[in-house]
């Protein structure tokens, strides 16, 4: 009996170890991502279903209204993540940012754009995750890009501004491969020549943040919170926060609210991950009257939502419509990742790459790349019509959003009369 038990346990151990060993080669990934904390970078969050991405035709205009339903098109979520091409080459490649592919937000949104274009045009596609997860080095990222190029990629989509150094190297070495740099800026080589095979695409997050802040105060919230990721060094998150405060200020002025307080924090967000400490901090905020928190940073969302659910309070999501994730989400500040990715890839295949190669593009309301999700509208006192009027006034130039100090960890460029910011 004892012997039997001993053998059984030994077998369990062996199997466990075998299982463990297999982790080394998870099926398809060429570059190993040792499964890390989902810590991604520019302000994004797990949203149950980035299905809202429009999947529109490669037209001149970038990014369609991000909140639109995928009108008749295939839901990118249903497209297989792994495909095998017959000749072993993959034309479209995607290199992930820190964090996992299926982060329900930044990476996933961008990846959906790649997949959607590939599926619609019958192209081969593949994703590459730089080794070492959120500890990935420039070399790891470069290796992933190199692997993509070696596998015959014509267009490599790289997500996240952290890829800059690796991307520069890869782009100089492979001038015939086109790179799309999401959340990025134009790159140039050592001699100062702009790299025309890199198409940088950024977003005007401050506009999206503005809508969120405006909507929140119009809805009747007077105690807001802002939890940003990246420790105040991530440009996209900073822009979101900067717009959010201005939106709240404008709404307070418009609706006659005397005072709006905002707890403004970059704490516990440097790696864009969830943590018990973050949850406790938000719990404390909610406990002391904060009604809604703008969860602006990757998987931090999970902790903030947990705190909100405990206190029956609300959350504003980011990047993609996160209302599918939790009942506590009242609205989300969107940016059209998937649509912009498709648009950029289409430029290449339509022979119009020169339009975007090496040209910094910042997509905003005029490109319908930022906004709030109108299909899942759950605000009661602030209506879709009012939002659309605001949108229109920003488009027409009637309304302007201050952008003097966009990328700082504190809001310093604007004068605030109604909003009191409490830096935590």
């Amino acid at each position: 009996m004892k012997k039997f038990l001993a053998i059984l346990l030994a077998l369990t151990m062996v199997f466990a170890l075998v299982a463990c060993g297999t982790t080394e080669t998870p099926a398809e990934e060429p570059t190993e991502a040792p499964a890390e904390e989902p810590a991604e970078e520019p302000a994004e969050e797990p949203a149950e279903e980035p299905a809202e991405e429009p999947a529109e035709e490669p037209a001149e205009e970038p990014a369609e209204e991000p909140s639109e339903e995928p009108s008749g098109a295939v839901d990118p979520e249903t497209i297989e993540d792994n495909m095998t091409s017959e000749d072993g080459t993959y034309e479209l490649a995607f290199v992930t940012d820190v964090g996992q592919l299926k982060d329900k937000s930044f990476n996933q949104g961008t990846w959906n754009g790649v997949k959607a274009y590939a599926a619609a045009n019958g192209l081969s596609y593949k994703y590459y995750q730089p080794a070492n997860g959120d500890q990935a080095t420039d070399d790891d990222r470069y290796d992933a890009m190199k692997a993509a190029v070696d596998a015959g990629a014509k267009v490599v989509v790289c997500a996240g501004f952290l890829q800059e150094t690796a991307l520069k190297r890869a782009a100089i070495e492979n001038p015939d491969t086109m790179f799309v740099f999401i959340d990025g800026y134009a790159l140039s080589d050592e001699d100062g020549n702009v790299l025309t095979n890199v198409a940088p695409i950024a977003f005007k997050e401050e506009q999206s943040g503005y809508f969120a802040g405006y909507a929140a105060v119009m809805e009747g919230y007077t105690k807001l919170g802002f939890c940003g990721g990246g420790g105040g060094t991530n440009p996209a998150c900073c822009r979101y926060g900067y717009g959010f405060v201005q939106g709240a200020e404008a709404a307070a002025a418009a609706s006659g609210v005397e005072e709006v307080t905002i707890n403004y924090s970059w704490q516990y967000g440097s790696s864009f991950s969830a943590s018990p400490e973050l949850q406790t901090m938000c719990n404390g905020w909610y406990e002391n009257g904060t009604e809604v928190i703008f969860a602006c940073g990757g998987s931090m969302f999970a902790s903030i939502v947990a705190a909100a659910a405990e206190n029956d309070c609300d959350v504003i999501g980011v990047d993609v419509d996160q209302s599918y994730e939790s009942e506590t989400v009242v609205t989300s500040a969107l940016k059209g990742l998937s649509a912009a990715t498709e648009w950029a890839i289409a430029k290449f295949y339509d022979g119009e790459w020169a339009d975007i190669g090496g040209v910094s593009v910042s997509l905003g309301v005029n490109d319908d790349a930022v906004g709030l999700p109108t299909d899942t509208w759950s605000l009661e006192n602030y209506t879709v019509e009012e939002y659309e009027a605001l949108l229109a006034s920003l488009k027409s130039g009637e309304l302007t959003i201050d952008d003097t100090v966009l990328e700082a960890d504190a809001v310093t460029g604007v004068e605030l009369e109604h909003v009191v910011i409490n830096y935590v």
Binding site: L9, A16, E37, P46, Q100, M281, S303, A309, V424
Partner: protein, 343 residues
């Protein structure tokens, strides 16, 4: 104040129960370094179990029928499942340490390395991502006990006691405390407990009196594994929105520290866990702690650097250990494989 107590309990309870897990193993003579690994495994099993129940639709049915007792029942069931699998997982350690007489430190470390890898591997297969989350809803919306679940009005005032211990709490907290008390009594007031402890002090003598040392050590480690597995799930439930990602933020190792700090005695361990939980809580939420309820946030107004508060839990541990470690007394035979011939 209520907030502070509530949050402290949330941090302290997993620490306490896992530290008790350590006590059981070490009192029987086996060093259980694998607490962290078992917690990770327990958290994974618990979340997976909840997901399975959710997939089967049990949760939605209970929610629709507003049968909140059923939801609490599912939670208890999940805790049991996590405990059972934690116990099974810990058998690997007992097998290596008791049957093979292997070095217990190395065995425990091996499990600590095995658990996250195995869990992440399984999560990748199951969910094609690195975090296993609930299928729908949030931990609090399913499992948390609030005024409204107890039938009170949202604005009702339950008094200090009620507000602190009946509102926004998890049943798991009280179950853990109950288990803690029962097992402490078991360890000190029963024949079994005495025998277990004797195996950690002088197994040769125990053996000479007819106590089966192997069996006692197996029992100690298995109880330890069950507690750690349960603690892992409670951690995931209360502080990670019921998700598993192969990480419990070092709570297993913290629990080891708490155990040593508590001098391998349940009561001291509980005290140590509370102290540690309190400072962890202060570190994370100092800016919104209002001690006497007058709307003044004293700690935030002191103007002390944030990083000081974040250091506090560790600073306090260092200081307290420096003063108390002289009296600390580990079980004498812990870490030594039992060898009959040395009697």
């Amino acid at each position: 104040m209520t907030f502070l107590i509530r949050q402290t309990l949330i941090y302290a309870v997993p620490l306490m129960i896992v530290a008790l897990a350590g006590v059981f193993a070490e009192r029987s003579g086996i060093i259980n370094l694998a607490l962290e690994g078992i917690m990770i495994f327990g958290a994974f099993v618990g979340v997976l179990f909840v997901r399975i129940l959710q997939t089967a639709g049990w949760f939605d049915i209970a929610k629709e029928a507003e049968n909140f007792l059923a939801l609490q029942g599912y939670m208890l069931l999940t805790m049991l499942a996590a405990a059972a699998m934690g116990a099974v997982f810990s058998l690997l350690l007992s097998f290596a340490a008791v049957n093979l007489k292997a070095d217990q430190t190395i065995g425990g470390t091996a499990l600590n390395m095995l658990a996250p890898a195995l869990v992440l591997f399984l999560i990748r297969i199951l969910a094609n991502q690195n975090t296993l989350q609930l299928l729908s809803g949030d931990a609090a919306s399913w499992f948390m006990i609030k005024k409204t679940t107890l039938g009170f009005d949202k604005s009702a005032d339950l008094g200090f006691f009620g507000e602190t211990f009946l509102h926004k709490v998890y049943l798991s907290t009280y179950v853990c405390i109950l288990v803690f008390v029962i097992l402490s009594v078991l360890l000190y007031k029963t024949r079994f407990g005495l025998r277990l402890r004797s195996c950690g002090e002088n197994p040769q003598a125990a053996d000479s009196l007819g106590i089966n040392v192997r069996r006692m050590r197996y029992a100690g480690v298995t109880i330890s594994g069950a507690l750690a597995g349960m603690g892992g799930f409670v951690y995931a439930l209360t502080t990670a929105n019921c998700s598993a990602n192969g990480d419990v933020a070092g709570f297993g190792f913290l629990a080891l520290a708490v155990m040593i700090f508590g001098n391998w005695k349940p009561l001291n361990v509980a005290g140590a866990a509370l102290l540690f939980g309190l400072f962890k809580c202060i570190a994370a939420s100092y800016s919104s702690i209002d001690i006497n309820g007058d709307g003044v946030f004293l700690l935030a107004n002191l103007g002390i650097n944030v990083n000081f508060y974040r250091m506090l839990p560790y600073l306090i541990t260092l200081i307290v250990l420096a003063f108390t470690s002289k009296n600390s007394r580990a079980p004498k035979a812990e870490g030594i494989p039992y060898d009959k011939s040395t009697r």
